[in-house]
Symmetry: C2
Subunit: 418 residues, 2 copies
């Protein structure tokens, strides 16, 4: 277990780095990120060569072509990574922001000020651009990053992290602000997940299986991203044109992502008008429809839905459809089968929209908008470190703000408590 | 394991109650809490009689007189509990508050709105007033409470919770908004701590041992309150009068609580003036001083400090004292030995105060004020559900806001993503 000693040393250095973080002025961090971006671009050829090592291994080990594509770095992708770092550099600095200030009747002045979380462990899969993105976001938020990427991308990740470390040193900072777990032994992950007190937060990015595994093993708080079982409810007072556009967009624009719709709920009063139109367009888009009895009468080519299709995350061109009696039934369906990720109502009725947005307890509730907007960039956060399906700490799309905590600064004039 | 089936039923009902919570208007919740307060006062005699059952058991089982005092309910204490409920009723409603609103360039309107967390498990020790306080705070924040109080207080807690349940029913709400774990089997706690998905947050209130045990067993996020190893640093530019007052207050006003000072750090340039004065007053207050070499030369009656005294939570009239070279050494000492709870600087030098407040990463940083102010009531939160020594979700004194999460409400006009 050589890796164990190595990780222990890394954790000590990471904690030391973290204890000095949060003190660099915003301009300093910006400059650091600029240098890293230019370092990445300058070393394009070398990065392609290092990436090539991963690709050769991947080909001989029989990785799928889709996976190999995700793994590949070329000039264009490296440029995009560097630009990503510049985009993070441009974001508003999230540290040292006064979230609230007030004065107590006794004259004590209070401020609630944002601070970094400390040491963050990111666990993710094969794409090397995630390495750059996470490291940049952690630096911007003055957190220390411990990165555990996919084993397929080890050479690429090592090369990328070395560029970060070099810039850190050149700016007089500890290179341990950005750390790569360089063992592929899965036991090393289990070991890290037990280091409460040394690591402050774990953010796994990947499929549900990865996340469940991390949650199961972790003694450290985990930002969980489970399923996105998103619903669109088309109300009886929906504008049909909007309903059709939103349905198609939510289902078909990118079916494989968490904020794509999985189940369509349609008010019975509008089903006869809406379903034939949207059904044809879904069919043209190559989407299989699995409907309840009413739906199947209106869309004769639809398959019959199974109970297990409700609440299932298809992540492909399959849509469950149910005709509901009213708004309340739609809300109950979402409560029973949803994952509290993102759910939408299409309606021109303000009262229905109001009831829906109060009663549906999802991290994002959409009114007359596609579920696909549930995303840190679309919300204007400028970055997304993940989407939380939890209600603790951060919920929904999570930008830099989710990587901060706060402290209270209390200023008195010799105040003592009586 | 009869309790297991009972708890499983309770969890289902609690989750159902939670799914409807957050929808009651603020005025409704206020009225509910008024009724509960008056219910408590009206049933004073009965509560005293029920409490008597606990006291009889406690006496025969040989509980300490201090513990018996904490357990005892009398007319005055019951009145204070009812008043506590009224105070919670008067607080600003924490649910449905718009934390932020903005419009995206594409016209999407976003709101970030506070929502309840869901089901909260509180684990605490013998005082029955904690039952009332926690239940009231959970109702005010539209959360469902599962209360696991001390076994010594079972009859009292049962009586108190029955008053809550009665009022809930009278207001047309599920009585499962407030739940008492009525088994004293510790295995029931372990069982509850595994119910991730059914319980959203665990808040243990008690000694470090209790909290470590909960963290060890829990699969649910836990608000941790470990140690309060609080420091006061008296800078060379301190106002001596303020320094003396703050030192005495932080150490002696209530030595047994988490925000009391445990270690005093004194700048070498001021030690000769400050320590003799404060030493005499500490002695008069019955406080043992354990000092480093310099301190012991200045205060001849002081004991010699052991390394293990630094970073030790005495919780009694014992104070570790160290003379430091400068501000940086004080900060390093706090970093090495503190618990990031509350640390104070006494100085008239603005630059020193600024460095201290930036570099000391504690949940509360005090400038010229006693550490004893680190408290939800003193901060004006109107309530305190606990103090978090963690940086995830909530940090420091935690009022109603710590019992909320948020959701994004996104309003479009048929917006689809391109």
């Amino acid at each position: 277990m050589n890796w164990k000693r190595e990780l222990e040393k890394m954790l000590v250095s990471a904690r030391q780095a973290a204890s000095h973080a949060g003190q660099e002025p915003p301009a300093f961090k910006k400059k650091l990120l600029w240098d890293i971006a230019s370092g990445i671009e300058k070393r394009t050829k070398w990065l392609v060569a290092e990436n090539r090592k991963d690709l050769i291994k991947a080909e001989t080990s029989g990785l799928s072509s889709a996976m190999i594509d995700r793994l590949t770095l070329n000039e264009k992708r490296i440029k995009a990574m560097a630009e990503g770092v510049l985009a993070v550099a441009r974001l508003k600095d999230p540290i040292g922001r006064v979230q609230a200030k007030w004065t107590r009747p006794n004259g004590l002045k209070l401020q609630k000020v944002t601070v970094p979380l400390g040491v963050i462990l990111m666990i993710y899969e094969s794409r090397p651009n995630v390495t750059v993105e996470c490291a940049a976001l952690c630096l911007k938020s003055s957190n220390v990053a411990i990165l555990r990427g996919g084993r397929e991308a080890m050479a690429s990740n090592r090369a990328l992290v070395s560029i970060f470390k070099k810039s850190l040193k050149q700016h007089g900072l500890s290179p341990f602000h950005v750390n790569l777990v360089s063992t592929t032994d899965y036991a090393a992950v289990d070991f890290l997940l037990k280091q409460g007190g040394k690591i402050d937060l774990v953010i796994p990015r990947g499929g549900e299986k990865l996340i469940r595994r991390v949650v199961e093993k972790s003694r450290i708080p985990v930002i969980k991203h489970y399923q996105g079982i998103c619903h669109v409810y088309v109300d009886k007072n929906a504008d049909l044109k909007k309903a059709v556009a939103i349905t198609l967009n939510a289902k078909l624009q990118r079916p494989g992502v968490c904020n794509a719709m999985e189940t369509l709920l349609v008010h019975q009063d509008i089903a006869g008008k809406f379903l034939p139109v949207v059904g044809d367009l879904l069919k043209q888009g190559g989407c299989e429809v699995r409907g309840d009895g009413v739906t199947c009468r209106i869309i004769p080519w639809a398959k019959r839905v199974k109970t297990s299709d409700y609440g299932h995350e298809f992540l492909e061109k399959i849509l469950a459809v149910r005709v509901v009696k009213d708004l309340e039934e739609a809300i109950r369906h979402i409560e029973a089968h949803g994952s509290r990720h993102t759910d939408a109502i299409v309606t021109e009725n303000k009262k229905a929209a109001k009831i829906f947005k109060i009663k549906v307890d999802s991290s994002s509730v959409m009114i007359n908008a596609s579920t696909r907007f549930s995303d840190g960039f679309e919300y204007g956060f400028g970055a997304e470190i993940g989407i939380s399906t939890d209600k603790i700490h951060a919920r929904g799309p999570m930008g830099l703000e989710g990587l901060t905590s706060y402290k209270y600064i209390v200023e008195g004039n010799g105040h003592i408590r009586s």
